[in-house]
Symmetry: C2
Subunit: 309 residues, 2 copies
């Protein structure tokens, strides 16, 4: 299959233009208005303040904490811990392994937006819940998710969107996600060098597929120096395009951060073989098996709270 | 001499109230107005936007760059490099070693404010110029300067103020100084354990005299969750009280940060023997020799530019 986005093939990095639309749907194909779609297309992300109510956030947080607790002594690759500690940082594949997050991943509030942005039915390519502790939350260096998904997982085109449901207030000072607006329109071809199964390390610390300083400077120049931050109250939801350059600083504040994270991929953009010599990464990082389009479901989270208590 | 602020003497940390005024001067004793003095007393810091003009910043930046260049191959303790790299991070004692920064440290704009805040004549206890590179600027964990100056240098009372002249724009996303407002009114007695001459390491990474998580949570609770950031354009000047809890995140943005840093101490608060079993730190970190009150000088930086070019 043609590789439209080669990367890690040359010793010197370079930048090429995006070859896919930044937005696939139209205003008639989903809940988002013209203005919102415009914003997403221009900036590569869109942030919805309090898409979920405080009651719903309570339920989500309890489910996240409960799932973390259930995995305390699970020693499997999809349970990722802080470097040099036993604390769980992320649990992957929650849309398969837990009934609650499976239903959440089909929530019509989320899926209808993803379908509109991608102009097709969608499926979950990756899911996880994240807990970033206060005082010692590590930084996550700049990267394009798509670059990794393309080279290491075989995602052919830029037709996926990440969705982050934030479960703690995100402030300027507790390591919010930072995004370079407009950077989704350029593809940074990283310098070569991807050792096999480097993913086990890269989940903890980015080292390969890392964009170079000059390309990052160029992207920030293109955005007129803008670096946006996804700050806002718990219950807010960020959708960001697969190729947008993003990262986050460490978090020395006492305020931890947790979120639920789904990657929606277009059903027309299923994974192929990796665009590299690498073996495909494991299923919990890049879903290939039994891929079927999601049927959006109404799912009243706050009613659940009543059943739970 | 009585130790009013013991620290690192117990295995368990604790918090005590400040025993010194948070503000020594009055509105009649200097340039700051009633409101400004109130703000400083309550919050422990005050930020003056563009106290120096763009022309003055140009001169300051050139002098900083020139001084960094001059020290490229100087291998002395007062020239501090990034861990694992040759890049200079800080040069200390610039108020002694360079004519320009000596004059700057006596600049009436700065000294008159310091005198007013401290209610006396002042001298420079420490000076340095700092360069925090883009992309890889390291975080600086929470600390009270006074705790170190007291335990390791023998500063008897809380009667000093730091002055940071920022020479690059400080954004939310390039690792600005973060301060916990009001924290200057409490003294966190850190847990014991200070190996001798740990300063060589601590200049690169804080490890001792580190406040514990519970005390930090308590201080942030006292400030109603506020963590303020010193953001603003180049030429702005931050004065912050010796005991305020502060720190900064790493900087993965392309924007470097540089500043000139002076610690003004009251002439009535000269250093004694360290309040610990430690030997005094070197002169470049804590001035003891030939301490004389500064005579404030008018010093037109922008005129200098004309002479230089």
């Amino acid at each position: 299959m043609t590789d439209f986005y080669p990367s890690r093939i040359s010793a010197t990095p370079s930048i090429m233009e995006r070859k896919d639309p930044g937005l696939y749907g139209s205003k008639d194909s989903g809940p988002l208005k013209h203005q919102e779609l415009d914003f997403y297309e221009q900036n590569g992300y869109i942030f919805f303040e309090k898409l979920f109510s405080d009651d719903e956030v309570d339920v989500l947080r309890k489910k996240l904490d409960g799932t973390m607790d259930d995995h305390k002594s699970v020693d499997k690759p999809h349970v990722v811990r802080e470097q040099g500690s036993d604390e769980i940082r992320s649990i992957f594949d929650v849309h398969k392994n837990t009934e609650f997050f499976q239903k959440l991943s089909a929530h019509e509030k989320l899926v209808n937006i993803a379908q509109q942005l991608l102009g097709s039915q969608v499926y979950i390519n990756q899911s996880r819940i994240n807990f970033k502790p206060g005082f010692k939350g590590k930084e996550f260096y700049w990267h394009s998710d798509f670059e990794t998904w393309h080279v290491e997982d075989g995602m052919p085109r830029m037709r996926a969107v990440s969705c982050s449901i934030i479960l703690t207030d995100n402030y300027e000072y507790n390591g919010p996600l930072m995004l370079i607006p407009g950077s989704q329109n350029y593809y940074v071809q990283c310098a070569s060098g991807t050792p096999d199964s480097h993913f086990e390390q890269s989940l903890k610390k980015q080292e390969f597929g890392t964009p170079d300083h000059n390309s990052l400077k160029w992207l920030v120049g293109k955005s007129n120096g803008r670096i946006d931050r996804a700050t806002g109250p718990a219950g807010s939801v960020l959708f960001f395009e697969s190729n947008i350059m993003h990262g986050s600083s460490g978090n020395i504040s006492p305020f931890p951060r947790s979120n639920v994270f789904f990657v929606f991929n277009s059903i027309e953009n299923k994974l192929e073989q990796p665009f590299s010599e690498l073996s495909p990464r494991p299923e919990f990082l890049a879903n290939r098996e039994n891929v079927k389009p999601i049927q959006p479901q109404a799912f009243d989270l706050s009613k659940k709270l009543v059943h739970l208590s």
